[in-house]
């Protein structure tokens, strides 16, 4: 039995992101001044330093930019999960996010594969976005 999954302390930018995930929304930030799309959430724009950022919900569809499958857990808390695959996903809205990939044999994962988001409750209060191969 693996230890309890690590859960960040939700204080700032990350709080909005994970609370939206609990509501079934994958959000990124859009800079109202320069239109930069930003993931992960910050307090200032990565392009123009503006603090005029809004959270936008993604349609949750994209393609795999890169991936790796872990055969040895990086941390004991994930010991029951190996092998599992973590992915960088380029969303259709033009922002790159990171997550893990489920419902896919590690041998079938490919760069460029179409994926879609789903949400999984780790605890009653904490939900993570994950990806799976797209339905079509």
């Amino acid at each position: 039995m693996a230890a309890t999954k690590p859960i960040p302390t939700l204080r700032g930018e990350e709080k909005v992101y994970f609370e939206e995930a609990k509501n079934g929304r994958l959000v990124y930030q859009l800079c109202r001044d320069c239109a930069q799309r930003i993931f992960y959430p910050r307090t200032v724009c990565t392009n123009c330093m503006s603090e005029n950022l809004e959270y936008v919900a993604s349609a949750g569809k994209g393609t795999i930019y890169s991936f790796t499958t872990l055969h040895v857990p990086g941390h004991p808390e994930f010991a029951d999960d190996v092998p599992y695959t973590v992915v960088l996903v380029d969303l259709e809205e033009g922002v790159r996010v990171l997550a893990d990939l489920v419902d896919c044999d590690p041998d079938d994962v490919k760069v460029g594969m179409s994926v879609e988001v789903l949400f999984e409750a780790v605890t009653e209060d904490f939900t993570v976005p994950r990806f799976r191969p797209s339905a079509q």
């Binding site: 690590p6 960040p8 992960y40 990565t46 790796t68 990086g74 941390h75 599992y84 973590v86 990171l98």
Partner: protein, 388 residues
């Protein structure tokens, strides 16, 4: 091209092992004393200390007290100090000497990286700050996962193969055969490489460096003093540190820090580095390339202009490349892959020993000019060292 202000005049190591049986302060002290002895100096000559770490070592203040230093002018713990800083710390010592803040600086790294606090995840609390707040809950906790993303992109874009990665492990191990410091000295073959277990693909066990206990240190002093020390000085011809971040909030582990993961920090610092030294990649006699993972060598060979984009895989697999006796021997001590992970500062120490001609059967003939690099992802540092 700039004038040479400082030289490395002493090198010191402890043993490198999976279990040192002593504290990081003890290791730091031993390495510093060995480096001073090598230089023919004593602690009374030292007025600066520079180190880097990830909260896995003692602060420079600890070594200052251990050596009995009286009021050192420079005492730096460069934090968020992964291997990206292993050359930057020597550059910082050179800068402090240029600025008149110090005259003689010990640069060191000490860690119990296997028996004590291991980098990344296993056996310690999960770090959940910055980008890690988003990575950790998804099961990304250690560096292999992060750097595998770069390796995968390079394979996808340029056709780099597992055989190319394996060749780096095999050729590095061949160098370690003649290095008494190295932890792994038995030769391996590509078959051995492919028989080693997958850790996180494309990385197998032999793609990943050896977590290690130990310390190493160099003494850097102003050129006016360097001419009078016990060993010939090795000039700090150039030092550069930098790279591409993803803007506010990025940290060392930020795999989102670059748009194109088929490239890493080398592209960002090389022109500054070579320009400062007045050299080109073609002038180098050998190179010590940061090899926390095999793939980081591939990306840096391209980033530092030793080969063009996409050419590093076929290059390392060539019949007359990488190895001792080739035009550009690489990782002459076996690298972090086979000597051990003293977090990259042991690339600097090996380069100094090569430039002094002290490497015995693994000596690069007529070694006069070396590239040393540090880092694998979006940020890093590098040195050009040479005989002066």
């Amino acid at each position: 091209m700039r004038s040479v202000a400082s030289g490395v005049v002493g090198v010191g190591y402890t043993d490198i092992s999976p279990n040192s049986g002593r504290s990081t302060l003890q290791l730091a002290t031993e390495a510093a004393q060995a480096a001073l002895a090598d230089a023919g100096m004593t602690a009374a000559d030292v007025d600066g200390l520079v180190t880097y770490h990830l909260d896995d070592s003692d602060p420079a203040l600890g070594l200052a007290q251990s050596l009995g230093l009286d009021d050192p002018g420079v005492m730096v713990d460069w934090s968020d100090g992964g291997g990206n800083l292993a050359c930057g710390v020597v550059g910082l010592a050179d800068a402090a000497i240029r600025a008149g803040m110090a005259h003689t600086v010990i640069v060191y790294r000490s860690l119990n990286g296997r028996s004590g606090r291991r980098l990344g995840g296993m056996g310690q609390g999960v770090d959940t700050t910055g980008v890690r707040q988003f990575m950790t809950p998804a099961g990304w906790t250690t560096y292999p996962e992060m750097i595998a993303m770069w390796a995968r992109r390079h394979m996808e874009v340029y056709g780099t193969t597992p055989e190319h990665l394996g060749t780096i492990a095999v050729k590095s191990r061949a160098h370690a055969k003649d290095n008494p410091r190295a932890q792994k000295r038995e030769p391996i073959t590509l078959d051995d490489y492919f028989a080693s277990p997958l850790i996180c693909d494309p990385f197998r066990l032999y793609d990943i460096c050896l977590e290690s206990d130990g310390a190493c240190a160099v003494v850097v002093t102003a050129m006016d003093r360097a001419r009078d020390t016990a060993k010939p000085p090795v000039g700090v011809l150039a030092a550069a540190h930098g790279g591409t971040g993803s803007g506010p909030g990025a940290d060392l582990a930020d795999v989102l820090g670059m748009g194109d993961l088929a490239r890493n920090f080398g592209y960002a610092v090389r022109d500054r580095l070579y320009g400062m030294a007045g050299v080109t990649a073609a002038d180098l006699d050998f190179a010590e390339i940061y090899d926390c993972f095999t793939a980081s060598v591939i990306l840096q060979l391209e980033g530092f202009g030793i080969v063009g984009p996409g050419e590093a895989g076929p290059y390392v697999a060539g019949d007359d490349t990488f190895s001792l006796g080739s035009k550009l021997p690489i990782n002459t001590h076996g690298g972090l892959l086979s000597e051990g992970y003293l977090h990259g500062l042991n690339h600097v120490t090996e380069a100094v020993l090569q430039l002094r001609g002290e490497c015995g059967p693994r000596q690069v003939p007529d070694a006069e000019l070396a590239l040393v690099t540090a880092g694998a992802m979006a940020t890093g540092s590098a040195l050009v060292l040479g005989r002066v």
